[in-house]
Symmetry: D2
Subunit: 304 residues, 4 copies
């Protein structure tokens, strides 16, 4: 497969969607981003790389960070992790607080906000230097030592983060989180604020695409089986209430972020990252979704 050619063709084909949707604007920092950007990068397990447009421009990875925190929590806690968070998709947008209240404080999965807040709490409990350790892991798995938090974005999100604060308080009420609520929220938003490029994300997710390679980065180790299980959770829970749609259209495990980034993997074949800030009504990148749908259609490669 000539992936470089394929993604160049895809880019041309999705150009008509370049003005559809709008970027996240609930915090000033994200609203400032130029919405008319697009980047895409792939890495195969055989060492091939393909990249187009702003593949090297960094952006706010937001919820994509939840895969990294899950990797760390799963490495540290193993199967005991599932005592504090489920692994079932959460269903429709009819969600978060309602389900959390009904289910007595155990989030449905690690990729909805409540589940990621629980993981932030676990990392605060388990790590000596949570902020440094998380960054070290992300830098190591992405092979890029300059990746960093954007503390302005994090502070800005905390300031307006009433819904996440409501969730954190409800989790504390149910006894699911152990640390101080403000510390948990601070760390949660900080992890979301990490900035990476498509190229860096694609490198990082190659580690998930290739479970035959040893997973060991900055001390975070996962077995092949654990890597595959994280992929399984990406498949069923990676796109909130659009997980079924993504699985149906793209057919790959993946994870999206409100910054406009999407990563996906084709196990034992490739990883791919795409980015464009304009979002559909469900919060996923319009061009990103289109690009990935075309990628698996063109290559006739999907896990199904």
């Amino acid at each position: 497969m000539d992936y470089q050619q394929i993604i160049e063709d895809i880019y041309k084909e999705i150009l008509p969607y370049a003005k559809e949707g709008k970027q996240a604007d609930y915090i000033p920092e994200l609203a400032k981003v130029d919405p008319d950007q697009f980047g895409m990068c792939m890495h195969t397990i055989y060492g091939e790389t393909a990249a187009i447009e702003q593949a090297d421009t960094r952006f706010s990875i937001q919820s994509i960070s939840k895969v990294f925190s899950l990797a760390m929590c799963h490495s540290i806690r193993g199967e005991k992790l599932w005592e504090k968070v489920g692994k079932e998709p959460s269903g429709s947008a009819f969600n978060s607080l309602i389900r959390l209240e009904v289910e007595r404080g155990i989030p449905s999965n690690p990729f909805i906000n409540s589940g990621a807040i629980v993981m932030a709490d676990i990392l605060l409990t388990e790590l000596n230097n949570p902020e440094e350790d998380f960054l070290s892991f992300v830098r190591a798995v992405a092979g890029s030592p300059t990746i960093d938090y954007n503390r302005t974005v994090a502070a800005s999100e905390r300031e307006k983060g009433y819904l996440n604060a409501a969730i954190a308080n409800l989790l504390k009420y149910h006894g699911t989180i152990d640390n101080d609520i403000e510390e948990v929220l601070h760390f949660y938003f900080l992890m979301c604020s990490v900035e990476m490029s498509c190229r860096e994300l694609s490198v990082a997710f190659l580690a998930f695409a290739n479970h035959r390679r040893k997973f060991d980065y900055a001390g975070i180790q996962l077995t092949a089986s654990q890597v595959k299980r994280i992929n399984a959770i990406m498949q069923t829970c990676g796109f909130y209430n659009e997980a079924g749609e993504f699985s149906y259209l793209v057919g790959l495990p993946g994870k999206s972020g409100v910054g406009g980034g999407i990563v996906a993997i084709y196990p034992l074949q490739y990883s791919v990252a795409v980015w464009s800030p304009r979002l559909n009504p469900k919060g996923n990148s319009v061009m990103g979704m289109k690009a990935l749908e075309l990628l698996t259609s063109r290559t006739k490669e999907s896990i199904f």
Copy 2:
């Protein structure tokens, strides 16, 4: 891979679970089944077959029938099918009627009861002889002309089927179904009552495992892309509120039934069917789940 040897080994390993759980007993007909039975059968796309124990004993396929009705509806309606049913997992057991009420009569996906009732309604509308046509399709895809409904089971389920009748009335209230409620329920339960063996199910699902083979049975045709999309829905929605768990432990698209049967496919590799009537609290076969978990662990083969 010597699949025959593998499944024989698996069977020995899961024998300690042989008395765990109990069979469905909400209708007398299902309660009469000897719970201490086990069958397993696999077919690879290369023509290999493996089978053990009661692989040729027929049992009530129940919800596995929903894959067949989805295949028919998708073949007939194409993408328009999704106007009447979603493709998102339904989340927790906190389910059916609540979600249906909240979502104004559109079921989350075709594999929950409400979604399958909608498909029964569509088939009644679209087919000249729905009962015959459904059976013809199942017989053709399974290559077994003696497969049949069990009308005693169907009648017995209808008699006690208050929850499904509530769902059908709610769907009618919302205008989602067009036909007479009793006719829809009759046909729904009839499709669930089909009896097949593991061998027959494994043959039938090989058609889904191998999207490179033409899918055309008794006039029901699906493109490769459509087959893969049905598989994607099996992956995210095939096990009710245990879909995430199955994806995590087994890593294959599949579908279970309350009769104790489970089918799964490894795309472009094999199909597998397993049956044992004793169920876990979520309604899935205890030994069946164990057998499939071991199968992908042993073979180190999963879609992730």
Copy 3:
């Protein structure tokens, strides 16, 4: 108080609202009613009567019938009645099936549809001739032997009564009702179809307004305490999700029906019935609500 003068003045004052809202039209029979009608009638415990306009025109009492069935069930079962139905207001319109599912088949109170369906079931179980006995009671308490069911309306409502059929099936699923679902629904809709005039309703509810008078009609007996308790339930649950609003604006126990009728009582003072078919968005008569609000404002009489 010159109630005749008061209600004549009120009528003039509410005339500007005469064209607001529209009558129930979900069944042809109710849609046929001339919407531009208004009647009002009061009876004091001292024997005074006041009546204006179409006070003697009969209309479909619909949910007002639930007070009569509650009176019968409470008379027959006493405090044991509350094993099958609660006495708490059901809150917002976010209601019926959701709450019923969450609360495992016990309706919140006897005045929501699910609760009234349970009462229909109880009467079927307890009475030798439920249809005759219910009618005898209503005729006796209203002092009018010609009151009757409208079987055309009842049949028409059953035909379109998918939501109530869903509720009945869910109640049966939970084991709350004992009789055949169709029989229960038939009797439920029949009770709703009773036709009475404002004058007849006012007479009937005088029996609730005056708990010092012996309550004994066609063999249905209630103690003073039981009458007061039925009034208490009217106060908290008589107007679905407008119960608080009615209590706030009118300050009397009452019950409304989708036919446009409303009854209310001022304990130890009077009963009042008002009717006008045009409804507000919550299903209560526009002019009826206005008339009763003005009645308690003018007379400065309310239970608070």
Copy 4:
């Protein structure tokens, strides 16, 4: 009526319940209270007083304070108050956050926690010295200048008040509250911490029982109609998901607090306050509920 004799008799009759239930213990300050206390006090509009046992012992009025804040908000905002809070009962304990999320940030009524938090926010916006002004009003209406906050209790409740903090954040997310979340919560808990005796509460609620007397205390004025409407809300919403039960058994408007206090009024007759710290599972005083049920049974006086 010899109310003194009646409440003495009632006290003897309820003594067998003296050890039933246990006091609130979710904060150390409330858990320290001797649970084996009981006080009761009545005032008629004709100037009679009856009091027994610890009628003069002060206790934490907790949610009873919500009547005072409603009186202030209704006096200040009039009917515009209802733009930010409803007046419908909230239904079952299946409550608070779920309903709040479904209803887009508008609490069902002023007596559930979310509604009272909205009122705290309104008072912070409207008053120059909210803490002083609230206290001045309570002191004036109770005729007791030494009534005060218990800041230790308030601080202790804030510290463990995760659920209320979740609610406040959700209200802020929906834009229902304007002030800083911590300030709102601080003031909310402070109002709940006011300590009063049964005698003081009975005096204070006499102002609600007698709407013919001018309501004007420390600058807070209510019309007769407004007083009656506050009583109506007490009737339908004063006892959370036991409002229907209280209305059924006692038949008076009232309000309870988790400190074990209950107030009730018989309009144009009397006010009554009762206190005993042991609570039933729904958070209402066991002996208090019994005492009030017997009071209306014995006197045969209720609003119904």
